[in-house]
Structures are given as C-alpha cells and as structure tokens.
C-alpha cells in the first residue's frame, strides 16, 4: 500500500512543464484514439478513405483548369496535375492538423469536464490520424507520377531527387507547424468562440501565401522574402524538389523553417498547457 504513488492536487503556480511523462503514461490512449479516428472515418462514410483521394484530386483538377488553363500560371514546365498535387498533399496535411486542432477544447469539452488525462493527447492524436490521408494521397501521387513518367510523353524532364530522404523531416515539420498553430488557435477559440470563424479564412489565406498554385521561381525577386517568411513555403518547395526535381531548396531556409516550426510548436504547447488547467471552468 505504501508504495502507491501519491498525487498532490493543488493550484498550480507558474509554469509546470509540458508533462511529457504524463503523455507517455497515456500512450495507449494515443494509439487507441488514432485507431478510433481511422476506424470511425472508415466506417461512417460510404466511400470511406476514398475521400482522401477524391478531395485533393478534385482540387487538383480545378486548379489545373483555373490556374493552369485560364490564368496560365507557369508550373515550371511540369505537368500541372503533378505540380498541384505535390503541393496539395503536403499542404492538406498541414491544413488538417491546423483546422482539427483549432477546436480541440470546444470539441472535447464534454469529455474534458468528465475525466482527466493529458489534454495534449488529443491534438497529437489528430496529427497522427491525419497522416493516414497523407499516406493514401502520396500513394496516388506516385501512381500519377508513374503514369506521367512512362505513359505520357512530356518535353520537360522530371525525376525524384536525393532530397526525398528529407521527406520524413518535412512531414515532421509540417506536423509541428500544424500542431503548433492549431494549439494557438484552440487556446483562442476556447476563450473567444467567435474566432472559430477565422480558422477557415486563415488557412485559406495561408494557402495563397504558400507556393502551391504558383512556384517560388515565378515570384518577382523583391517580393520573394515575403513568401519566404512563411515556413510552409520552404517545406512545400523542398517537398516538390524532392519529388519532381523542380523547386527551391536552400539549407539555410530549411534550417530557418525548423527553428520557426519548433518555436511555434513550443509556444503553442505552452499556452495550451496554461489554458487546459482553467478551461473546464469557463468552456
């Protein structure tokens, strides 16, 4: 009996750490939540995971028509489908991490009022769940890639590059950014529910500030720094460089992205931790 752990519950003063130990202790919950998300998504809809593929494909087709055909925005000589699709799959991973986590407190309010577990489990689980969609989309990208490579004659050469080994890092960075910004947003929406309206708008604006429908090389030199401020720019460009061999790759900017993403993540976690203690009292 005496060996049992004693928990002391008292008002927390100041910073109490990120509680990584707590998250580790609840790792089973993390696993089960991810599994639950996947199964629920799979069971609920008729088409199931097919949505993961259809949605970006549909967007890609729209982009190809509007930006490629009508507006004639250059795609660095790449087939528009591959160009847009490559940007979109990494972007949609970011945007789903961001948008799902932005409402963490409001979505889980009923559970948070009934049971305690480290609240960070939910956002982390969301980021991992979103990877399923990313994986399926990547497989389909490869399919498109192979079709273009071997069945359709293209003037411009494209090929995967060594930078493909950077992809795990890019995914991690995207997850960090999505999670970090999502946590920031969740703190804000918990306090001001009106801000939920902004999430969608923010993601949309960020997308136009990221080279998805255009390429960085197409931007006038003196505006480039504006786009480069956005850490997603480097990630998307590097991702495209890795998959198609066209794009902007700079170790300096990548390092900057790593630093910015980490800062955003930790600041987001910091405010999230501060909020989670009081949130059930006013949510």
């Amino acid at each position: 009996m005496n060996s049992q752990k004693i928990t002391i519950i008292k008002p927390s003063s100041g910073w109490t750490g990120f509680d990584f130990a707590g998250i580790w202790q609840y790792r089973d919950l993390l696993y089960l939540l991810v599994r639950r998300d996947f199964l629920a998504q799979y069971k609920q809809t008729i088409l199931g995971p097919a949505w993961f593929v259809l949605q970006p494909l549909f967007l890609t087709v729209v982009f190809t028509l509007i930006f490629g055909q009508f507006a004639q925005i250059p795609t660095e000589g790449l087939p528009p489908l591959l160009f847009y699709n490559s940007g979109l799959i990494i972007w949609s991973y970011f945007s789903s991490c961001f948008s799902v986590n932005a409402s963490t407190f409001t979505t889980n309010a009923s559970i948070y009022q009934k049971v305690y577990y480290p609240r960070l489990i939910n956002p982390i689980a969301n980021c991992i769940s979103s990877l399923f969609a990313f994986c399926i989309q990547s497989i389909f990208f490869l399919l498109y890639f192979l079709i273009y490579k071997y069945f359709i004659q293209i003037d411009e050469m494209f090929a995967m590059t060594w930078a493909i080994s950077l992809i795990p890092l890019l995914i991690l960075l995207t997850g960090f950014l999505g999670l970090g910004l999502g946590l920031w947003m969740s703190v804000l929406t918990a306090k001001y529910r009106d801000l939920t309206q902004i999430t969608g708008f923010l993601i949309q604006s960020l997308m136009y500030g990221t080279p998805i429908i255009y390429s960085l090389s197409g931007i006038p030199e003196h505006y480039k720094f504006l786009v480069l401020f956005n850490p997603m720019t480097t990630i998307v460009e590097t991702f495209r460089f890795a998959l198609l061999g066209k794009g902007f790759f700079s170790p300096i900017y990548l390092t900057a992205s790593i630093i910015i993403a980490t800062l955003i993540l930790f600041s987001g976690m910091y405010f999230f931790r501060r909020t989670e203690k009081r949130v059930v009292d006013y949510i």
Binding site: M1, N2, Q4, K5, I6, T7, I8, I9, K10, P11, S12, Q25, Y26, D28, L29, Y31, L32, L33, R35, R36, L39, A40, K43, Q44, S110, I111, Y112, Q113, K114, V115, Y116, Y117, A190, K191, Y192, R193, D194, L195, K277, R278, V280, D281, Y282, I283
Partner: protein
C-alpha cells in the same frame, strides 16, 4: 501522509466567477479593455466613478463553491457524499478527479483514481462495444494489457455478450450504462469516485453494482459515492460526509448524517400552526389550530416514509362557546390530499367511516387520525382541511398541511422503476 489514509484534503477551496461562466466574446473584452483605459483617468479625479463600481461589481460575482474543506478518508472505506444541489459535491469530485484545479489548498491522493462522473465518457457511437472498452479504459488511464486481461469479465458483468461487436449506437441506454460501469469497476483502481451514475440502470443492475462495489471495498479499495438516493447511501457507506454551501457540515456515521441531511432539506414541518392563517373560509365558530405528525410510538416526526403507519393530530380551538349551538347534522371533518401538481389524490372523511363529530370533544381533545400503511410514493403532498356541517362550512383551509413522504430506506422492494407513474403505491401480488 499517514499510510492508512487514501485522501487528505487541507483547506481546499474553489472559487468560480459568476456571470462570466461561459465564454466571453472578443467584442466584450475589447470593449472592456477600451473603456478601462478611457475611464481610468477620471478615477484619479473623482473617487466615485463608474469604473470603481464596475470592478467592485466584478468582485461580487465571485462565489466560493468550496470553502476550506478539511477531511481525511481512510483507505478501504466507502464514503458517502451527500448535500443538496449546489452544495459543492460536483466541484469536489471534479477536483479529486483532476478535472479542475482548486483555487487554494491541496489534496493528497494515494494511488490510482478512476472517476465515473458520467458513464461511458468518450464512447464513440460508430465503434463496437469491444473497441470502446479499450478506449474507455485508456481514457480512465488503464493500459491495453490490463484491459485485455479483464475484457471477458467486463463484458460478462455488463451482460452485453451478444452485442459486444455491434456499434455502440445500436445499444440501448441501459446497455451503455452497464458497459460503462462495468469497465470502471473492473479496472481495479485504488480509489473509485462514483457520481449518481447508477440511477440510470434498472433495479437488478443497481443491485449488481452495489454488490460489486461492496466487493471492491472489501479488497481494500476506497470508494467515494455520491447519490441523492439515500437508501443506497445507507446501504453502501459506513461513513458519510454532508456538504452544505461549500462547507462540510458534518461527517460521521451514515445513519446520523442522513438524518441530519433530511432535517436540512425538510425543515421541521411536523407541526403546522393554523391559527394565524388568513386564507380560510367558513363561519369560523371553530377553527383548525394545529396539525402535527406523530409516529406510532407517539414521537413527533417531520416526514413519513412510504408504507408507514402514523398519526395526524388535528387540534381545534374556538373563541366563544357559540359553537355549542351549531347544527351537528352532517358534521364532518374532511381532509383532501393533493399532489405537488395540485391533482387530487384522495380524501379522508369522518362521514365516510361514520365517525360522529362531537364539537365539544374535538375542541377539547382534538382529533386523531390514523393512516395505515401510507400508500403514497415519495414526494410532497398538500392536505386541505375542512370542517363543516350540512348548513355550511365552519372552517376550510386549503393547503393546510404539507406532508413530506420519503423513500423507504433500505426497502427490499425497489420502487424506483415506478417513479413517474403516479402517486399511489398499490398493494398487489402477481401469481
């Protein structure tokens, strides 16, 4: 911390802000912040400015849900927690289960806590019962291996064997509750916190749960049990804590505490003085002066239990001797019983049982009414008192007496399933 104690609370307090519960909108906050800056300069000149009154208003909207709670709960005890709505029970449970933080003070807890503030928290309707068992276990902080070991027991206890691989959305609410309780009960927490959740299940399952809880406590685990069903508290808990307005009013043997609580919620209604009642009709030669409740051994009581036999003592008085000239023809005392929704439930009349009223005698000695095996469900009833003869009403007071009927504690027969089906307890047997 003493090794024989499971929970120790020191000066535990929790403050809430009234009015600001719920979310503030950004507009309000910006407005407040803007006006704060604008009004502030005036404050320096005029002391009684609106800004000061505004801040003091904010201070007034705070309230203490819990105030300086100090208590110890020994390991292996089943402790009841009772108190009327708003007394702080839920807040205390939320602090103990780490859902919210106290404002000041601290609690030390030994071992793993599983709290059942709501059964089936986190159940996902699309997933099967089995999948939900694992998730629910994980939410309660139990890992998969431990759930694996006990999953058969859990399913058996809940009695959902046939449906365990069916999505939860197809479950009846009873099945969901049974599964939820079963999970928590089989995960061997050191401390189990149960809040009113068993009220949902049917009588058989409630019995089963009580049995399981007794088993758990016998294994040396601690249980904190909150319920408004006092007979369950009396059955389960050796010690009970009574909360009132965020403070511990008393702690001690369950029987005494339950009694104290009943006195708190049903304040002394044993005697109803009727002399000063204004709303009455009739000639007024004789007036009802008092109605009081006594149990069969003559002791005064405040409330009765369903099935009790008891006395209503009715006293009369008269300011002159004129009543002696009253017509005794058709003289009667009539007591109508209405329920709390003012529906007529029944009546008791001296005429109906051919009891002759003697005016002199009732003014001198009063009237004693024996009610046998009260066949009313728990609740509040209102008795209208009428005294009259064939000429007219002598005294007539509507809602003269409020009769409080409570559940028969520890009754063998569970009448819970009959709640909401009227006021009468019927005497019947099935063959």
């Amino acid at each position: 911390m003493d090794s024989s104690l499971a929970i120790v609370a020191n000066n535990l307090s929790k403050k809430y802000r009234l009015g600001t519960i719920g979310m503030s909108s950004l507009r309000e906050d910006i407005y407040q912040w803007w006006h704060k800056d604008k009004v502030k300069p005036y404050n320096n000149k005029e002391k009684n400015s609106s800004y000061i009154s505004k801040t003091s208003m904010i201070n007034k909207t705070e309230f203490w849900a819990l105030e300086n709670l100090n208590f110890n709960i020994p390991t292996g005890q089943v402790v009841g927690l009772i108190g009327s709505n708003g007394s702080g029970k839920s807040t205390l449970l939320k602090i103990l289960s780490r859902i919210t933080e106290p404002t000041s003070g601290e609690v030390k807890i030994r071992g793993k806590v599983v709290s059942l503030l709501e059964v089936g928290t986190g159940f996902h309707p699309e997933l099967t019962g089995r999948e939900n068992v694992y998730i629910n276990g994980a939410i309660l902080g139990i890992n998969r291996r431990d759930v694996n070991e006990r999953i058969d027991e859990i399913i058996d206890f809940a009695g959902v064997n046939e449906f365990i691989d069916t999505p939860i959305k197809r479950y009846s609410s009873g099945m969901t509750v049974r599964l939820g309780f079963s999970i928590a009960a089989h995960l061997n927490p050191d401390i189990m916190i149960i809040d009113e959740v068993l009220a949902v299940g049917d009588a058989t399952f409630q019995q089963k749960c009580l049995g399981k809880m007794q088993d758990i406590s016998r294994e040396g685990r601690t249980i904190i049990f909150v319920s408004h069903q006092l007979h369950m508290i009396e059955k389960m808990c050796s010690t009970t804590m009574l909360l009132s307005d965020g403070r511990i009013k008393s702690t001690g043997k369950t029987k005494n505490i339950v009694k104290e609580y009943l006195e708190e919620i049903y304040p002394s209604s044993c005697k109803q003085i009727l002399i000063k009642r204004k709303h009455r009709e009739g000639s007024g030669f004789i007036k009802f002066s008092e109605i009081s409740l006594k149990c069969t051994n003559g002791q005064k009581i405040d409330y009765v239990k369903t099935g009790d036999t008891f006395f209503l003592n009715i006293k009369f008085n008269s300011f002159s001797n004129d009543f002696k000239n009253l017509n005794t023809d058709g003289a009667c005392v009539l007591l109508n019983i209405d329920n709390s929704s003012k529906q007529a439930i029944g009546a008791m009349s001296t005429l109906a049982i051919d009891y002759k009223i003697n005016y002199t005698k009732i003014v001198r000695d009063g009237l004693k009414l024996k009610i046998n095996r009260l066949a009313l469900m728990p609740g509040e009833y209102f008795i209208t008192a009428f005294l009259g003869n064939s000429d007219n009403a002598i005294d007539w007071i509507r809602n003269a007496y409020k009769l409080t009927v409570i559940d028969r504690a520890c009754s063998k027969v569970d009448k819970k399933s009959l709640n909401g089906h009227g006021n009468l307890v019927l005497d019947y047997t099935f063959m």
